[in-house]
Symmetry: C2
Subunit: 153 residues, 2 copies
Amino acid sequence: MNSRTAQDLLDAHIHRERLKHTGQRVVVLQTFLSAEGHVSIDQLLQDCRKVAPGIGHATVYRAMKLFVDAGIAIERRFQDGQTRFEPVNPEGHHDHLICTVCGVIVEFEDPVIEERQHEVARANGFRTTHHRHEIYGTCLDPSTCARRPSLTA
Amino acid sequence: MNSRTAQDLLDAHIHRERLKHTGQRVVVLQTFLSAEGHVSIDQLLQDCRKVAPGIGHATVYRAMKLFVDAGIAIERRFQDGQTRFEPVNPEGHHDHLICTVCGVIVEFEDPVIEERQHEVARANGFRTTHHRHEIYGTCLDPSTCARRPSLTA
DNA sequence: GTCTATGCAAAGTATTTGCAACGTT
DNA sequence: AACGTTGCAAATACTTTGCATAGAC
């Protein structure tokens, strides 16, 4: 999602809910959009403080919740205990491949799996709303893998 | 997994690691095995206390970690913040369908999806070790769905 | 007797909430 | 002026850890 769309979605949501525009929300939004996907609150807070030193952690939590409501961000929880956020992708969702050694997160999307999930749900008397699919493994190329910092470090 | 196998695995692990057999571990193991899958620590603690009133929560946490190490239990985290445990299934793993209204958790296993995951991983230069796949949706049958207590309630 | 396990309380994480001061409209 | 927002601190929820005592071997 580009900065333009995100800002429009936020404006619309703020107007709809009778909320207010604030400097902090602009900072959190810009920081969030310029971070590479899958940012943790902690990382986000640190980055925001480079621009707005006085910003509090509760503000970042509250802003991210607002962005989720506004349709700008998606909340993700992997296995490391921290909630991470990524920008909504208007062209559709994707799932994740995660290396347990170096922590790199790769996005994927597979129509066969998507299709099959709906069939499985239907066969069990469910209507699918969303899903979570994470494949854990290790990078086959040790040279690039070993150099990246681990997710759990 | 039956009680017999679980006990054997635990005995083996205890012997291997030079640990000790204790009454509490027996209680937690029996309680865990007789609970239907996906028990939370909290539920487990309450159930254990029916049999052994003095048992502490730390003991249950420690016992479950031990069972995971022994290959008896698997740790699962769904979206509700609590860690849940289920017995290891020796015939292979399965994934989950979860109703967001009533909270019922149904297990599924689909060879097409399994196969496809490995291909996706390979295509991205990964070797799969494990994965997590949860499909969220709603029960199509409202009569059974509405009667069950919600996961998030 | 040695060394692990237990129960309690305290500490640690991640996140949420109460509240007075502040900023937006 | 009215009301949502902020930053702080306190509260909450879940899990882990320190420590003295109890129990297994």
